[in-house]
Amino acid sequence: MSFEPGQRVRVAARTHPGHHRTPGYVKGRTGRVERVHAQFANPETRAYGADGQPAQRLYLVGFDQGELWPRYQGAARDRLLVDVFEHWLEEAE
């Protein structure tokens, strides 16, 4: 599934024991697609000596800081931008 800028997305809350680049603090959290990056070799297979193909689409996803940190004290407009691969993203209502 691919996503468009402005679309609400949730990061999959799944366990992945192998190498992956999705930070734990965004798993299960909902954000918004800010930018659609290019496709890149998949680090999850490349980390085990494979060529990382097929390449995976990378997205810049913006999260409200309050969504990530329940006790966040800063301004409500504060956001955190994280690059997340497509296969970690789900459609959010």
Partner: protein
């Protein structure tokens, strides 16, 4: 093993973990061995022997107590030795034996 948002993470995945001490932002001059480590890993990458994702996996797979003790480039060295041993380019214990001799 730490848990954030109900998902288990490895030792390196520490964003948002409580930490009583402030981040050490001091800079230090790199020692020769650190520069050599950077060059070595770069050369291994350039030669197609190991890539940056393998380097990261080797770091993330360190025993947590060793990870916590190690400096940045000590983690690189640990990982390079792990990955090269996996690939059969080093024998287990080969570097230790060479350093001890």
């Amino acid at each position: 093993m730490t848990t954030i948002g109900g998902v288990d993470g490895a030792v390196h995945d520490r964003g948002g973990l409580p930490d009583a001490s402030p981040i050490d932002r001091s800079e230090h001059e790199l020692a020769d061995w650190e520069l050599l480590t950077d060059g070595l890993v770069g050369a291994l990458g350039g030669a197609g022997v190991m890539n940056v994702d393998e380097l990261r996996r080797g770091i993330e797979g360190m025993p947590p107590d060793e990870y916590e003790r190690a400096s940045y480039y000590e983690r690189w060295l640990y990982s390079a030795e792990t990955i090269l041993t996996e690939k059969g380019l080093l024998r287990p214990g080969e570097l230790d034996a060479r350093v001890a001799s």
